[in-house]
Amino acid sequence: MEIESYLHIGFLFFFSGAMFSLLPGQKTKTYIYILSSIGAAGFAVFGLYLLFTEPRNMFSLPISSVFDFSFCGDGISGFFILVISILAFAVSVYSIGYTRDLDNKGLMGFLFNIFILSMYAVVLSGNIITFLISWETMSIISYFLVTFDRDEKSAKAGLVYAVMTHIGTAFLIVLFMILYRYTGDMGFSGIKGLSSQIPEDMKSLVFIFSIIGFGTKAGIIPFHTWLPRAHPAAPSNISSLMSGVMIKTGIYGFIRISMDIMGPGPEWWGIAIIVIGAVSSILGVMYALMEHDLKRLLAYHSVENIGIILLGIGASMVFRSSGMLALSSLALIAGLYHTLNHAVFKGLLFLGAGSVMHATHTKNMEDMGGLIKSMPYTGLFFLVGSVSICALPPFNGFVSEWLTYQSLLLGFKSTSITSKIISPLGGAALALTGALAAACFVKAFGISFLGMPRSCHAENVKESSLSMIIGMGILALLCLLFGVFPGIVLTIIQPVSFMLTGSHGMAYKGIFIGISETLSTLSPAAILITMIVMSISTLIFILTVGRKKRIIYGDSWDCGIPWLTPRMQYSAAAFTKPVRMIFKRIYLPTRELKVSYLVKPFFVKSIEYSGEITPFFEKYIYDPVTGFIHKLAGKVKILQSGSLHLYLAYILITLILLLIFGT
């Protein structure tokens, strides 16, 4: 079969899914997601083909003499298509069960399919105009999905998202105009061929604009403010797609512009990316730690993981600018590996959060608890996702973060002092991030799934439907697969890194992967086997040695209080208190304690405690700016008196002035 026919199959299935959703009749609407999953499978095959073939033009429709509507693909597009397809497949399966209770199934099905297609269009766009059209389609469709639940909170989240994403697009338009101005070509491949004509300082300007433009979509700090609002507002299958793959299109755009088209840049580009990545990952995980809303917590973790991806990409740029191509390839592999991993485990976690919310009807962790007893599969898969995101073996997060560490720590091989200092510091930041992420997911999993139900929401919950469990199960399995057999992932990433750096950087042999530069190797499969063997032998030891003692079961010690209640459990706020105290210079926490007494100071009637952290970026960067704009708008509003006569008078005065000065 021709390669393109897979593309056509994929497109056809998504498109017919979208069209069927618009037909009247609500009952069978949930089955259109089967079409979407077949479409995703078609695109996955197509993406795989693209990785191992020459760049090719898929489709070209001339609009005018200056530009045509064109889609073409190469290895980079192929990799991102594969990432999108994997998550789209699992989410489609999940959506069969998830959307059953939605009010507006038809609209959801339509937007869902078009949204996925628009993401494919972004990574396949062959020229500037096609890219911008696809990019805007993606942004607008996702805006409609964010505001899918028609309440005030979603509307506000949607507004913040729309404003932020359009500011980003504005920078992208300027960026593309600069590229066109100096090369006179609209197509990406044409611009790439002529990129040496762009002067150095203009290249740096393009680089900065690409950080702002694509960074807004990717959610780097300080452009992250829309993530923790928009992702929780959307329905969970959508937030899974948005957080798992949509923000990755920002990474795609950045790689396409700053690495592929412009070629190796000066060293400070890479250093800047490492610094941005380090700041995003540390602050992202810190804010995540303070969230008690499950989906907001996950959204902040997306900020963190984008930071980790950027650490890898930044290191790659640093090595590339000083000509160490093998190391550059290694660091790029680390970044792309984490891109794939984050799509898989963050998609899984959002789906898990969706199942929990679907069952408990609350997002607040403090109201959950004990869910693992009633939702064993969801609990297990959420645990797999949590372990993966904490980068623990044998799951996938471990491999990509290990690679990122390796590439950052190998920064000492760099020739310049700056990168010798900055790269290991990035590694240190990554270490801090990893520790905090582990703390965060101990909290997220422990508070929601373990212990006793904290409120009536968490009592009498039912396990999710079969399709939802299968959707999560696919991703959980992939977490394990990508973690144990990194060779598979290397096969699909190496064409990309070879294309950009011209070096393989890594080798894999059987269950071992090795770094060519330092000869260090890693075998997660061996780790897994060791772990299994050790736990089995421990179990055997306990069973043989411990059997002689009789086991007595009794109640937990309750300090003499007659009975234990759910309110005595560790709460999420209490669990994170130590972190809040250590980093109080960053969190700037505020707390309020209200105690009312019956007889002071012995008999307390009630205690009210509320504590929150200061949202630094909103309060000190965004609020002043929006305040200023509001003030300006208030001044302009004086013109808008509401009087018809005054408006007419404006017209008359304008006409007379034109008559006098225009002739």
């Binding site: 007419l648 007379i656 008559l659």
Partner: protein, 219 residues
């Protein structure tokens, strides 16, 4: 006959009549008189088109003259009078400024137009006064809209502006193709009907057709 028209500058006289009918709006106090002024204005416009048609012998201009007379000269005035009767309002136009000031400003407007369009586009076969007069009628129509409180007068002001625009277009192009003129007339007829409905609706909702009350609608 054609020589007579040339010799006595009949076209200029009729144009001035059109201008005077517009200026008269400033001094009129009753809504019915305003409608009458508009009727006069439309008839003169139709007459002007008819005379020009006779001068250059174009058939489609005769059609334009006839349609103008029928719609602007008869249909719209009748409709406006019915609205005024239905609304049962005081028949005073309630201007914001005194008649004397209103007339003065109208005069200034005409002077400004004449001063600024001194060496404008000159069309052969026509007096160049026609273009200036038409622009002056547009501005006076707008000025009437600004200074009168009643919603009906807004509509009449708009109609004056439309007449001015029609005259301006006519003086520059010797009449547009019939189909376009018919289209414009039909649009305007619809516009007036819709505006009439609105005025009645506004009166029903606010118990007044006073536009000052509409300021509460702003955001």
């Amino acid at each position: 006959m054609k020589n007579w028209i040339q010799a006595f500058s009949v076209i200029d006289f009729i144009s001035v009549g059109i201008l005077l009918a517009a200026v008269a709006m400033n001094a009129l106090r009753r809504i019915e008189s305003c409608v009458r002024a508009y009727t006069l204005n439309s008839w003169l416009l139709s007459l002007l088109i008819g005379i020009v048609a006779f001068m250059i012998g174009e058939t489609h201009l005769y059609i334009a003259a006839a349609v103008t007379l029928l719609s602007k000269g008869i249909a719209i005035p009748v409709f406006l009078r019915r609205i005024v009767r239905q609304m049962k309002i005081t028949h005073d136009v309630e201007p914001y400024i005194s008649n004397a000031l209103s007339l003065t400003i109208s005069g200034i407007l005409v002077a400004v137009v004449y001063a600024s369009l001194k060496e404008g586009i000159f069309v052969a076969g026509f007096s160049k006064n026609v273009l200036q007069i038409s622009v002056a009628v547009i501005l006076i129509g707008l000025f009437i809209m600004i200074t009168r409180r009643k919603a009906v007068i807004q509509v009449i002001g708009l109609l004056f502006m439309e007449n001015g625009l029609f005259l301006a277009g006519f003086s520059l192009t010797f009449g547009m193709p019939t189909i376009i003129e018919l289209g414009i007339l039909f649009d305007m007829l619809m516009g007036v009907i819709i505006l009439g409905m609105f005025i009645i609706q506004i009166r029903r909702a606010f118990a007044s057709a006073d536009l000052d009350k509409l300021t509460v609608l702003k955001g």
